[in-house]
């Protein structure tokens, strides 16, 4: 086994981590924003429908309020989904770091 320069390994790892951030965490942030915008658009359409139904006496005020409560509950569930996907992404990222370390170190041997 030849001489190993730790500083070279570490610099190589730092560059690799930057690459991983660009392909994992940054990708998630974009997705999260897109999901948030989608959720907002969905809420707007529902509110429009329920308001019309209320004005036409097709649903009661209590039912209108219940629909809003349900919408809030769905938002809570969506937040849990986002949290879970973030955790999965982070797990993937950590796993990627270990693969990177292994490949970098073994590549230098």
């Amino acid at each position: 086994m030849g001489q190993i320069n730790f500083e070279d390994i570490f610099n190589s790892l730092k560059q690799g981590v930057t690459g991983l951030v660009q392909t994992t965490v940054t990708g998630y942030a974009t997705q999260a924003e897109a999901d948030g915008q989608g959720l907002l658009s969905q809420m707007k359409a529902n509110l429009q429908t329920w308001t019309t139904q209320l004005l036409n006496n097709e649903i009661t005020q209590a039912e209108f309020t219940e629909n809003l409560d349900d919408e809030k509950a769905v938002c809570q569930m969506a937040a849990l989904t986002q949290l879970g996907i973030a955790e999965a992404t982070l797990d993937n990222f950590k796993s990627g770091i270990f693969s990177l370390i292994e490949n970098t170190v073994f590549g230098l041997l």
């Binding site: 730790f6 139904q53 097709e58 219940e66 409560d69 349900d70 999965a88 797990d91 950590k94």
Partner: protein, 140 residues
């Protein structure tokens, strides 16, 4: 140089048990399939709410049993607390499906318009459970 190298490998060994274990359960095909199947059963059941609650008690029990089975299955998976929280919100008597059943039982029957509204939100709720499952990492 040798000291630095040894320190580097020691760090690697220590990092694994300290903070690098997965924080979320892996994707489960059974959970995904069952959840989508239950979603269809729940939405079909909701359509029946224009009719008398008492005449559909058997159907309601059947669907609720399927949900309970799925809940217990998810509860048995490690690091699946987020999905469990989602199920809890869905069946909570104050929300979504749980509240829908209470409404149906209390009122005897519900209007088609209101059922349609409820179905929109219950559909979105199930979609969140499915989306979370689908977002989990696959076993390698």
């Amino acid at each position: 140089m040798i000291k630095k190298t040894l320190l580097f490998f020691l760090m690697l060994v220590l990092m694994v048990p300290i903070g690098c274990a997965p924080t979320l359960s892996l994707y489960d095909q059974y959970a995904y399939t069952q959840t989508t199947s239950i979603k269809v059963d729940v939405l079909n059941l909701m359509d029946l709410a224009t009719e008398d609650y008492q005449s559909h008690v058997k159907d309601i029990t059947s669907v609720n049993t399927e949900i309970q089975k799925m809940y217990e299955y998810d509860k048995g998976r490690t690091k699946d607390s987020l999905t469990i929280k989602q199920w809890n919100i869905l069946v909570d008597p104050k929300n979504l499906y749980g509240r829908f059943l209470n409404d149906w039982k209390t009122s005897g029957h519900l209007s088609a318009t209101f059922i349609g509204d409820k179905k929109t939100n219950v559909t979105a709720a199930f979609d969140e459970i499915v989306k979370l499952e689908n977002g989990k990492n696959r076993a390698k």
